[in-house]
Symmetry: C2
DNA sequence: GGCGGTTTGTTGTACGGCTGAACTATTGCC
DNA sequence: GGCAATAGTTCAGCCGTACAACAAACCGCC
């Protein structure tokens, strides 16, 4: 008899009703979720490449353990709610009545990702099929900006997008607002966002988006969720390099958010107490070695240099640039070793500027992890570059909204 | 509109059936759990002091949202299964028919905690009422011991305890084996336990406990769960000082166990890369400052000195001892600051030898946490001593087994 | 090209479990 | 002793799933 991973998980989007009375309709809700999730996951290709052929009612019945009769009625409800679409039966190669392929509906229900960051703000809408149906990004300089003005502008953009989508017959399920700062996951308030110069405010009302449920989250954490669109383990640490260094802890495909969700502050892990003083008051924080500005400075580039000039220097084998990334990689490895040792999550995804710098960082990070992670002899740490592309938090936020739709389809039937 | 903590949690003891087909009997199972948990929690006094008077069927109905009719039949089942006991009606002060108080049954179903540690092995049995019904601890020296011999002896002790309990009419629900090493939570195998000199083995068969489900876990993690018996936040970091330094992450009253459960390795967070070399190969690990041996050495005591001689020196205001604890406290604070920053859990419980040393550690630990925890201006970190007493892992293991019984009472009706 | 074999999806009955309302049981208060 | 109040029980009704039989649509093969 062995220990099973008898574990619940604290991540985004717990199915509701875990600890409230179960009535007859609870069965319906739970089984609707089960069926919706089966079809959604098969289409998204949760593991491996997307199945060549979408599942039929019979497939869903086999996968869930429900009878075909029950699945049939549930699917009918989901189709009526426009969450699921029936495709024309494919030419069958087997004997028997051809199956009706079921896929998540396109352009019916969408989730919205919103973001304010230092140099841009944006709105992105995704549908259940995973397609981007709207994408608006405005460049800007929001360092020390006025929250009401910036969030008001973002709200206007979002309202325009919502208007457009609704006139196309789509329903907007909700929105996630990504901010580069400390967001209290319980209240949705922003405690502080150093790079915006914002503090102690409730951002949602400033958007003026009436009748649209908006949740707030940290930018790196939503960006982490965007990685779930691709092939990635169920649990990983996402580390996003930028002016600051943000992180998200993904466990079993959901965000780990204990207490107020203030985790992953890897930028201020002390790499060397004899190192340079950091803005946080401590000495030798990771940011002083692997923060964007520290790397540019060490590479002999101006602090406002674009990333591509650093990449150019690296590709040209510039010694200072190479040395800067070697130093950053060792420091990053050291801080990540603590991160892995403390959380027990062994895969690290490098996001933000680290994604593009990964070829020059990876070897050093891996080497230090191998030295310093205690479990590395039994579970080799894995380091990889993020793949979600530009403005990943917008994608992650929109995906998160849709995940909630799939997790509670009963609200839509 | 604000962000809710829309989070599932990965901790010990997920209610089963989260993602499988819901049939009619699923309702029964879920509601049985709900009722059992309501009665159990009220008795255990999950928050605050135990309610003066245990809940009645009507109270449970009000608390759960189920009707009195449903609660009545469910309670009848639980009473028949001897999981719940009806107390004689208390003298009613209100008008109306007096309520029948419901409490967890004493001495009917018990959970077993087992442990092998460096200097002892033990068996403890707890019943649903929270009482210890059996407690056997054998001192010994198990450094570099033979696993088969030691676990065989523990198995014999456990079998004797089981025999005794069963002859008294009790049913043993299961057992948890605590080991001071790296335990793979998925397979139950022990990868390595440095202080026992054990590695790569499956401990459960060596116990030779037929027909008793035994799960294996890390000792510090089970000790952390023992704290849940007292007044403690729902989430906290438990750090246990001993020869090594172990830790457990408790989130929403359950263990956080991502992947294989290898988290909380705080003993090898690097406090100062210029510090002394550690057995793990790195320099300046926390253990070199706050490990039991490092503290004793710094205090000028022999490495095998008992804890009470250190406590005596501290109470006598011995300079070397005080300085040793100051140094340990600063180092511990630094490593815990990383732990708090990375996990977002703001309460630290000091267990193992740290529990008794807490008066001399606390101020330094708190001071460093205040400096280094980024969220400390918004959520003051809390540091407290563990209260579970000797051999906490035995208590935690037994409690964990009982928590599973309460989480799935349907298996017992 | 019709017929058996095969797989899909639907229909109708049975059953389990919760609800709501009425009912019984037991007390305090006037 | 009667009335109000609270606890617990009984029973018809409803809801959602299972099970089994059935209809639909295809293949292959003689």
């Amino acid at each position: 008899m062995t220990a099973e991973p008898t574990t619940t998980q604290r991540t985004t989007g717990a199915p509701p009703g875990g600890s409230s009375a179960s009535r007859q309709h609870t069965l319906r809700e739970r089984n609707l979720r089960l069926v919706a999730k089966a079809i959604y996951d098969a289409a998204a290709g949760t593991s491996g490449p997307p199945d060549a052929v979408p599942p039929s009612r019979a497939d869903v019945a086999a996968a869930t353990g429900l009878t075909r009769a029950t699945v049939s009625t549930l699917v009918d409800h989901l189709v009526a709610a426009r969450l699921i679409t029936e495709l024309p039966p494919a030419a069958a190669q087997r004997a028997g009545r051809p199956a009706v392929p079921l896929v998540p509906a396109a352009r019916t229900v969408v989730g919205l990702g919103l973001e304010v960051n230092v140099d841009y703000l944006g709105v992105r809408a995704l549908d259940l099929a995973g397609q981007t149906v709207a994408d608006v990004v405005e460049q800007g300089a929001f360092h020390d900006s006025e929250p009401a003005t910036v969030l008001g502008r973002l709200g206007t953009l979002a309202a325009e997008v919502v208007e457009l989508l609704q006139s196309d017959g789509m329903r907007v399920a909700g929105a996630r607002l990504a901010l580069p700062g400390l967001v209290d996951v319980r209240t949705g308030e922003l405690e502080v966002a150093p790079n915006l110069g914002w503090s102690s405010l409730d951002p949602v009302p400033l958007l003026s988006l009436a009748s649209l449920p908006v949740h707030v989250a940290n930018e790196a954490k939503l960006a982490a969720l965007a990685e779930l669109a691709g092939e990635v383990p169920d649990s990983f640490l996402y580390v996003s390099g930028d002016v600051g260094i943000g992180a998200g802890i993904v466990v079993d495909r959901g965000l780990f958010l204990a207490e107020r969700g203030w985790n992953g502050e890897v930028g201020h892990v002390v790499v060397d107490p004899a190192g340079p003083r950091c803005s946080c008051g401590a000495h030798g924080c990771l940011e002083q070695y692997a923060g964007k500005e520290a790397v540019l400075r060490a590479a002999g580039l101006p602090l406002d240099a674009p990333l591509r000039s650093l990449l150019a220097a690296l590709e040209a084998d510039d010694d200072a640039a190479r040395a800067a990334l070697h130093r950053a990689g060792r420091a990053l490895g050291s801080a990540l070793a603590d991160f892995v040792n403390l959380t027990g999550v062994s895969t690290v995804v490098l996001g933000g500027v680290y994604a593009e710098l990964e070829p020059w960082l990876r070897d050093d990070v891996v080497a230090v992890l191998r030295e310093r992670v205690l479990a590395s002899p039994f579970a080799e740490p894995d380091v990889r570059a993020a793949r979600a592309g530009q403005h990943a938090a917008l994608t992650g936020g929109a995906r998160e909204v849709l995940r909630e739709v799939v997790a509670d389809p009963a609200a839509w039937v």
